[in-house]
Amino acid sequence: MAAIIATDMADPVPNHRAAAPHDAQALPRTEAEAQARAGQDGWQIPAPCLPGVMANLALLARHAAIFAGDDHA
């Protein structure tokens, strides 16, 4: 059986959980917020795309939460 050498408690790999999400890192949560964000870039998301875009934003929000240190996201 292989030996466990590096774990959460062992250096040299530090744990980077200090980073926390803040407003500047917030993702659009509604279709209106998504359109507003697109509007800042000078375009509008076609209506047929919105359901798929919101589903993908939800997936990205889950990854953003994991990235921020929430392992239960």
């Binding site: 292989a2 870039d41 375009w43 990235f67």
Partner: protein
């Protein structure tokens, strides 16, 4: 399939004509039933092959890949052809004015380009489900996915149409299809192979590399592409394994093989592994979205809907989140370099994909006990390695008569030589080796998921 180096030896010795090899490859690709080919290049291929034959006739050595036909994922520039990146959006783009650098290097080595190959649109997926060209089928079982996004490249090699093909790997797009199709595939250290003349996806992670069905060809092609002339005998590497989530989502056959390979070597757990993958996910989405923002504003409805919606969502990510993910990436790369040094290992072994090839009719995979879309999640084990920028060589487990499964051999930065040494050691032990399709009875495996 006869190995690339054997084909080249026959051409260089005048026993086989390059033109005949090209004709045979073109015929096989024209008859392909795996939805792997997007474009045949007969005029170019036969011209190049005739040039090789002329060189041989004049006593000139055409190079180590003399007359060997090969294909490229449809995101490499081919002079005179439109680089579509698998998308209808680019159908009317201007043709490439020159070949990608990788193609030039292979041509200089005597290889003959015969086709461009299917992929997920703009390389955004792990499945090669392409709305325009169709879904690439796995030669080991055509009811299953070939993996992606370089699925066409993997399928033509696995089917025996070509001895090698080039793909790209942003988050696992060489390693995942290599695992599902039972091939060798190399993702080099980030940015070590030339990306010039390839259509980008996420510049922080984009890499190119070859697929083959044997290790000697893979190493030879790597040396040609990289300009690395070091063909010295390979020293035995020090091998460990990656634990944690790498040990949680894998096939039992992979678990047994890893244990056999690593023996008493160390098992390393990366405490921030989940964060690495999520950060890679975010960086990819942001960079892909930014790259396509202008085209999405102009012609969104011409994209593959599944890819389009992912790209649009990525284009909406805040810059601050991207910057934070990049900061973690920089720190993580320094940390993993230190970990390799501290633990005294050259190679870490991990599963390449979490399961055998999923069914096309049900493209979902089991991750952490839940069914997830294969298109987005087949890269669960490759994405963190991408994030770390490390080289990884996918090797096929030797399991004739069963669906293919692969392992990742992960090396130190610029440590590809140790990966080849480890793969050679595993070949000699009989642990790894490609198996030609045909031995499978698909119905026996219809229910196999993990």
């Amino acid at each position: 399939m006869i190995a690339a180096l054997e084909q080249a030896a026959a051409v260089r010795a005048g026993r086989v004509r390059a033109v005949d090899l090209a004709q045979t490859a073109l015929s096989r690709l024209a008859a392909d039933r795996h939805v792997a080919v997007t474009r045949l290049l007969p005029a170019r291929a036969l011209d190049e092959a005739a040039r090789i034959d002329a060189q041989v006739a004049h006593g000139i050595d055409p190079g180590p890949l003399a007359g060997v036909p090969y294909g490229v994922k449809d995101l490499f520039d081919v002079a005179g052809e439109v680089t579509t990146a698998g998308s209808a959006v680019r159908t009317h783009a201007a043709p490439a004015t020159s070949d990608a650098v990788a193609i030039t290097r292979l041509r200089d080595a005597g290889a003959v380009l015969v086709a461009t190959l299917n992929m997920d649109e703009f390389a955004y997926g792990f499945a090669t489900i392409n709305a325009h060209h169709g879904t690439t089928r796995n030669p080991h079982d055509p009811t299953r996915l070939a993996g992606g996004s370089s699925g066409g490249s993997a399928a033509v090699v696995a089917a025996g149409h070509l001895a090698f093909a080039l793909g790209s790997d942003t988050n696992g797009s060489i390693r995942v299809p290599a695992s599902l199709c039972g091939l060798y595939g190399l993702k080099p250290t980030h940015a070590d192979l030339p990306l010039d003349g390839t259509f980008p996806f996420a510049h922080s992670f984009d890499d190119i590399g070859p697929f083959t069905d044997n290790l000697a060809d893979l190493r030879a092609i790597w040396m040609i592409l990289s300009g690395d002339a070091d063909a010295a005998p390979l020293a035995p590497p020090r091998v460990g394994m990656l634990g944690g989530r790498f040990a949680e989502n894998l096939n039992p056959a992979q678990r047994m093989a890893i244990a056999a390979v690593v023996g008493q070597g160390p098992c390393l757990t990366l405490p921030d592994l989940a964060r690495y993958r999520s950060a890679a996910f975010l960086i990819t989405a942001y960079e892909g979205g930014a790259l396509h923002r202008a085209d999405l504003a102009r012609v969104a409805m011409e994209y593959d809907p599944a890819v389009r919606d992912r790209l649009i969502a990525g284009s909406l990510l805040p810059r601050a989140l991207y910057d934070a993910a990049q900061a973690l990436r920089a720190q993580a790369r320094a940390d993993i370099d230190a970990l390799f040094e501290a633990q005294g290992v050259d190679v870490l072994v991990a599963p390449a994909a979490p399961c055998v090839a999923p069914l096309i009719a049900d493209p979902r995979i089991l991750i952490d006990g839940a069914m997830m879309p294969a298109r987005a999640d087949l890269g669960i084990h490759t994405q963190p390695i991408t994030f770390l920028g490390l080289p990884a060589l996918c090797v096929p487990l030797a399991r004739p008569g069963q669906l293919p499964l692969g392992l990742q051999l992960i090396g130190r930065r610029h440590g590809e030589t140790a990966l080849f040494a480890c793969a050679q050691m595993l070949e000699e032990q009989g642990v790894v080796g490609a198996t030609a399709p045909g031995a499978l009875a698909p119905q026996e495996f219809a229910g196999e998921r993990q």
